[in-house]
Amino acid sequence: MKFETAAPPHAVPVRGVPQIMRRVLLALVPAAAAYTWFFGFGLLINFVIAALAALVTEAAILKLRRRPTRRALRDCSALVTAALLAFALPPLLPWWIPALGGFVGIALAKQLYGGLGKNLFNPAMVAYVLLLVSFPIQMTQWVPPRMGDIDYRPLGFVGTLRYSLYEELPPSQSLDALTRATPLDTVKEGLRSQRTFEELRGLSLIGTFGGRGWEWVNNFIALGGLYLLYAGIIRWQIPVAVLAGLLVPAGLLHLLDSSRFPSPAFHLFSGAAMLGAFFIATDPVSAATSDRGRLVYGAGIGVLTYAIRTWGGYPDGLAFAVLLMNAAVPLIDRYTQPRIYGHSAG
């Protein structure tokens, strides 16, 4: 009898790229729900727009490069980029900003380097930073959380969509009334004008640990991150190192002077700390690959984020920290290779 031949191993692979990407998206669902609850439908609208732009861009460029498109679209990696970008964007935005973000993320940060797996920088963060420096006004219009005691009437789904598509607000509303600074921004500005962290804690935007609403979103993101750890999609080194890199300097300085340096908990539960630790820094393509390398890479992101938040020009520094460490990855990889079995050290 004759049989087919094939090279070993014959065992069936355990999983595929689309499955990984879909699980990452799934892990973001609880956080997206919490975000929508507290900050309105902007996240979802921005996600849909960014995702459409990302998919169209990917398809178009692959067509131009004469590469198979269906398969690349099915791998869901463009959707993950769009989702991370949507989490980083303020909820009230004209549609062309997330669209531009989706385009830039895929075209510039991904396809220009050769597509999936080849990019040096995290596409979502490249897009975010580009939008942040190009449109500083729109990109800092955040909304306060929907909480009983905050005097604020949020826009509903239709209202948010109308603003996104036509930049129109209901007659009784003004953009000024709708938008606020983020908790990180508020604290940073407050500290700059010589108020103490203890005083600032009393502000309505600040919650028990971090920003109000934000702490919940961060909790749910961490929950999603734990799921990713459990499912073996990410490993512990990067998240732990990022959080430790943020926590250690924050803790030390807070101990030294608690009035000028916000508590470590505030750092962890505001802004993009959890998203960065579990979802952004862990993007495999742009991260370091060895276990030790991942610790260095993550710690670098944590420390840089803290430094930019504390002494830099932006309230949150995570995106910049990630891009800087992305650039350092080849170097990190080079010096953190594990010793090969059977080779003596050194």
Partner: protein, 508 residues
């Protein structure tokens, strides 16, 4: 007896879905006599055996039909009685690949008549004689690599820190060692002690994976009954590829076998339980290696089980003994699903290397996938027991960058396939590394050849130069001689003239 339970973890490795229960429900099927035997003379990495019978000759079971060649080698014996029908080249499965080998083809007579042992029976006294007897007995490692046992034992004799008797079968489908340990634990333990004596090992570690409770129980009981203080029983976690020699040494001793060396380099020797059993048979009954336990399994076979297969039995015939194929059989694998290779047909013999035949159903095996690009997830690196960075090797292999491949430890890849199984981009990594090794070897050969031809060229240049300078020197010498002759002649003339003048002046 000391129970040894290593808590050390293997670097890398995988917990794979086991398929062992399918083939372990029935006892080993014994007493099989195939209609034909195809006995390959070259079953391992050593040197081929040399045939000592002619076509037409009647042979008995256990009779030597080919003597061990230059060491390392192992003799080949008839595994049943019959008549030599042909000595011809055939395709045979060996440890790591199919290869062409001269085979002695025997038509069996069904009587399974055993040759009367010609040698004085019993186990010789001296170590050299024992080693010789093992080589004559045709013993080779039955774990899959089939290295001649005599050579392996001789390599550590006298400086062995521990003998590791390997009952860890990490491949998901293979259960031949498990079944043998259940059915013949005393012989295995006795064989292990004989090996210990031979190499002078102070410790003998019997290693069994935790997913084989019945084998652990049987071997444990036999070891306690033997009551030898050298015996240890180590239960190891079921992680692929913990059964590999290098991995076992790491797991048991926390020492690493140096790159490019065998465990014997650091004083360890690993022997498969089947080999220990065979050694015991040889020492106590004078029986050479004529059969081995083979797992016949997979969704494509009707009654998966273990059989005691005569070496040289046709694979297709053995599968018939296990109920034949199921209609949807897709692939025939020699060895396990991780490191085994696909056979093009079942018209091939069982060799000493055949631990398992998987007749796989279509859903059981990897089909050829379309690949995604590497996303640098590092899963392959985490799974790699050699602590390599497969994703980096992939890039270097793609670029044909041999210097980088060497630096990344291509030669330390044990081709275990862990990286392939975990890669979410479904990249065929192991096969690329194998190809890269071949390309590297060819590259090195090319370099050597070009260095050689350069050397040849230089030698020729030098030769020509030498010849030229010799010719020049000769010419110079000749010229000098001519000049000297000329001078002498002139001198002679002058002298004559002078003489004449003087004579003239005297006459004046």
């Amino acid at each position: 007896m000391l129970e040894l339970t290593p808590d050390r973890r293997l670097t890398g490795g995988l917990r794979l879905l086991a398929h062992k229960s399918e083939s372990t429900t029935e006892p080993i099927l014994r007493g099989l006599v195939p209609p034909e035997l195809i006995l390959p003379l070259h079953q391992h990495g050593g040197n081929p055996a040399v045939p000592i019978v002619d076509v037409g000759r009647e042979v008995a079971k256990g009779e030597t039909v080919a003597a061990a060649g230059d060491m390392p080698s192992a003799a080949v014996h008839a595994s049943s009685s019959g008549r030599v029908r042909a000595i011809e080249e055939r395709l045979v499965p060996t440890g790591s690949r199919l290869r062409r080998s001269l085979c002695i083809v025997i038509e069996t007579d069904g009587e399974d008549r055993r040759a009367a042992p010609s040698e004085p029976l019993g186990w010789p006294e001296s170590a050299t004689a024992r080693i010789e007897r093992i080589a004559e007995g045709g013993l080779a490692g039955l774990g899959g690599a089939v290295f001649p046992t005599a050579a392996k034992l001789a390599a550590v004799a006298g400086r062995c820190k521990a003998l590791i008797v390997n009952g860890a079968e990490c491949e998901p489908y293979i259960s031949c060692d498990d079944m043998l340990m259940r059915e013949a634990p005393e012989e295995i333990v006795a064989g292990a002690l004989l090996m210990c004596d031979l190499v002078g090992a102070p410790v003998c570690i019997l290693v069994i994976e935790r997913d084989k409770p019945r084998a652990i129980e049987a071997i444990g009981a036999a070891a306690r009954a033997a009551g030898d203080p050298r015996l240890r029983l180590a239960e190891v976690p079921t992680i692929y590829p913990a059964g590999g020699e290098r991995q076992l040494v790491e797991l048991l001793t926390a020492e690493e076998v140096p790159s490019g060396e065998f465990p014997s380099a650091i004083g360890y020797v690993c022997q498969n339980v089947g080999t220990a059993f065979a050694l015991h048979r040889l020492a106590t009954r004078g029986e050479p290696l004529t059969s081995r336990i083979v797992t016949i399994t997979g969704q494509g076979v009707a009654r998966p089980r273990n059989v005691e297969a005569p070496i040289g039995a046709p694979i297709g015939w053995l599968i018939e003994q296990c109920g034949g194929y199921r209609p949807d059989v897709a692939r025939l694998i020699h060895g396990g699903s991780m490191m085994g290779y696909a056979l093009p047909s079942d018209d091939l013999p069982i060799t000493k290397a055949t631990s398992c035949i998987v007749a796989a159903g279509p859903g059981e095996v990897r089909q050829s996938f379309e690949e995604w690009a590497c996303i640098r997830c590092g899963d392959c690196a985490s799974a790699c027991p050699a602590r390599l960075q497969p994703q980096e090797l992939l890039v270097a292999a793609g670029a044909g960058d041999f210097a980088r491949l060497e630096a990344l430890g291509l030669d330390d890849c044990i081709e275990c396939g862990c990286c392939d199984v975990v890669c979410p981009s479904h990249i065929v990594l192991t096969e690329r590394f194998r190809a890269a090794k071949r390309a590297h070897a060819a590259h090195v050969r090319r370099l050597e050849l070009s260095a050689e031809s350069e050397e040849r060229y230089r030698r020729r240049e030098r030769r020509i130069e030498d010849a030229e300078s010799r010719a020049r020197a000769a010419q110079e010498a000749l010229k000098a001689k001519l000049r000297a002759d000329e001078a002498a002649r002139r001198e002679a003339i002058e002298a004559a003239v002078e003489r004449a003048r003087r004579r003239k002046s005297r006459n004046v």
